[in-house]
């Protein structure tokens, strides 16, 4: 079928094969068999090391469900996920430690994902301890802070004493300290100030170029993809309708829905074209 690899092709970091997920709406008439709604149908996905993939779709397209399946928080009704050849499915915290060390997640509002009662040091150390990461934890914590450009003096601060941008960087440092092979980021740029945005983009660039970390960037807005991802997938009505290099997708969207999304992404751009200031491409050159 799909996931058959020949010997010379590199083994994908993460591979999803024919995922299905159904939803059973709650009803008072429990004796009646209900028509289940299919949220995800026949999802095939393979991610190579260091690859940056965008996953776009409008609300209700199934982004969150797919994310939950990839994070092994929910099980698929059919199909399988494998990571470096090992099967991934929901299990106890202990049984999934190996997977959590490899695949980490940056939630939509990272600052809110910090426990207000813990210091920055404890926050970053928590997954290192819980996931039994070997090696010198203190050095990893310092390294992660350097990575996100945060001073060491913040180590004893609590999240309440940090600004929004600093808290965001702590949350990213928590994921980075584990040195994951794959990072799933949910709307990583929405709600960020301009300088923080640039910094996050730079960090993602560095991680994929220097460390070979792979990324899955999830967003409802196609406009962020060209800057962040080489490949973009469009999720529509629970199915992947496009899976192509981002540039090709923008130049010639095949599906009607993709056309609408590309169109929406261009609306803002068109307004900028009449600005006398530096063009967008000069601000952030596309490699």
């Amino acid at each position: 079928m799909h996931g058959v690899d020949s010997d010379d092709a590199p083994v994908p970091l993460l591979c999803a094969n024919g995922l299905y997920k159904h939803l059973h709406p709650p009803s008072l008439a429990f004796w009646r068999a209900r028509q289940a709604r299919t949220i995800l149908r026949d999802i095939h996905l393979s991610i190579q090391a260091g690859e940056r993939i965008g996953l776009a779709g409008v609300s209700g397209a199934g982004k969150t469900t797919l994310l939950n399946l990839l994070l092994a928080l929910k099980g698929a009704d059919a199909g399988s996920i494998t990571c470096q050849g090992r099967a991934v499915r929901p299990a106890s915290v202990r049984a999934l430690r190996w997977y959590r060390r490899l695949v980490q997640y940056i939630p939509q509002d990272p600052a809110a994902s910090l426990d207000p009662r813990m210091s920055v040091r404890d926050l970053i150390r928590e997954p290192l301890v819980r996931l039994s990461v070997e090696g010198n934890h203190t050095r990893r914590i310092d390294e992660a802070l350097d990575r996100v450009g945060l001073d060491r003096k913040f180590l004893s601060h609590r999240p309440g004493a940090l600004s929004g941008g600093q808290a965001q960087r702590v949350a990213i440092a928590r994921a980075v300290a584990l040195r994951p092979r794959l990072l799933l980021a949910d709307e990583p740029l929405s709600g960020l100030d301009l300088p923080v945005r640039a910094r996050v983009m730079q960090l993602f660039d560095d991680m994929s170029r220097l460390d070979g970390t792979a990324f899955v960037i999830i967003s409802h807005d196609l406009a962020v993809m060209p800057r962040l991802c080489e490949r973009t997938l469009i999720l529509h009505d629970g199915a992947i309708i496009e899976d192509r290099p981002t540039a090709a997708l923008f130049e010639a969207p095949a599906h009607e829905h993709t056309k609408a999304l590309v169109h929406a992404a261009h609306l803002d751009h068109d307004i900028t074209s009449m600005m006398p200031a530096t063009p967008a491409t000069a601000l952030y050159p596309v490699s």
Partner: protein, 278 residues
């Protein structure tokens, strides 16, 4: 100019628990005009909307003058305003804007019976015609449902239909697209543009923090920061020549959110994306 102003806000000051949040705000919206009120979060946009609509909570103290259709309404709650000075309202939170226990059809029917003098049956037909005109699918089905059973985009369109059915001179839309995804945002913006801003349709005051959406909808912008008016001009002018720190930031953000490549979409029509007339 003052003769056909639908909305005239003069020296509006808003205090919350004694703290001034908006001070000395002056602007106007002429009949058939679409104006956007832009500002960062916390700049007092929503409080201004509340003061214009007469929906300020109790802890909020409003001073100054708000004239709608020539009637001074700053001190009058929405529920007690005379009919000609009532304005249609569209909110970000569509859940609470409709009664979830009454079917959508029943709620839409009422203004047609009250303001258009139609019979029950004729009002029902008028509702169907209005929604069909707004490109809604499965109209009959939707009218029987409760607002809680609709999607966010559908609910927002029902709210707009309700505002339009009241035949107001002005519609105040407070962040109507913020909670929606990009495609639904575009549909709602398009609909707002089609239904407002001409001689025989209501004028529009669009309140938002999104300058991109504002450009697609409005001709003129009023920009406030920290409760004060910092810039007021046509959007074309503002984008080409931003004066204030916040305005510059907005325009920079517009750069940043735009894709890093020129538009190559084959059927892309630039005029649709941009309403500003140079």
């Amino acid at each position: 100019m003052s003769g056909n102003d639908v909305l005239k806000v003069n020296e509006l000051c808003i205090r919350v628990d004694g703290q001034p949040v908006v001070s000395d705000l002056c602007f106007h919206v002429a009949a058939g005009e679409r104006v956007c009120l832009l500002g960062p979060s916390g700049s007092g946009k929503s409080l201004t909307a509340g003061a214009i609509l007469g929906l300020s909570p109790h802890s909020v103290h409003v001073d100054g003058s708000v004239c709608i259709n020539g009637v001074e309404v700053a001190d009058i709650r929405a529920t007690r305003r005379p009919v000609q000075s009532r304005s249609g309202m569209v909110f970000q939170d569509t859940h609470s804007a409709l009664n979830p226990l009454v079917s959508v059809g029943t709620q839409l029917r009422e203004p047609f019976m009250r303001f258009h003098g139609l019979s029950r049956r004729a009002a029902d037909e008028a509702v169907v015609t209005l929604l069909r005109g707004m490109q809604m699918a499965h109209v009959e089905e939707i009218l029987k449902r409760s607002s809680a059973e609709l999607s966010g985009g559908q609910r927002q369109r029902i709210c707009m239909a309700l505002a339009l059915a009241c035949k107001p001179a002005l519609i105040v839309a407070d962040e109507p697209t913020t909670a929606l995804d990009v495609l639904t945002q575009n549909e709602v913006l398009k609909l707002l543009r089609e239904c407002t801003g001409t001689a025989d349709t209501p004028a529009l005051l669009f309140i938002s923090h999104d300058i991109g959406a504002a450009c697609r909808l409005c001709e003129r912008a009023v920009i406030i920061d920290e409760g004060r008016l910092v810039e007021s001009n046509t959007l074309t002018h503002i984008i080409a020549n931003p004066q204030h720190r916040f305005t510059r930031q907005l325009v920079r953000a517009l750069h940043d959110s735009a894709p890093g490549r020129p538009p190559f979409a084959p059927d892309f029509d630039a005029r649709e994306g941009l309403l500003c007339t140079a």
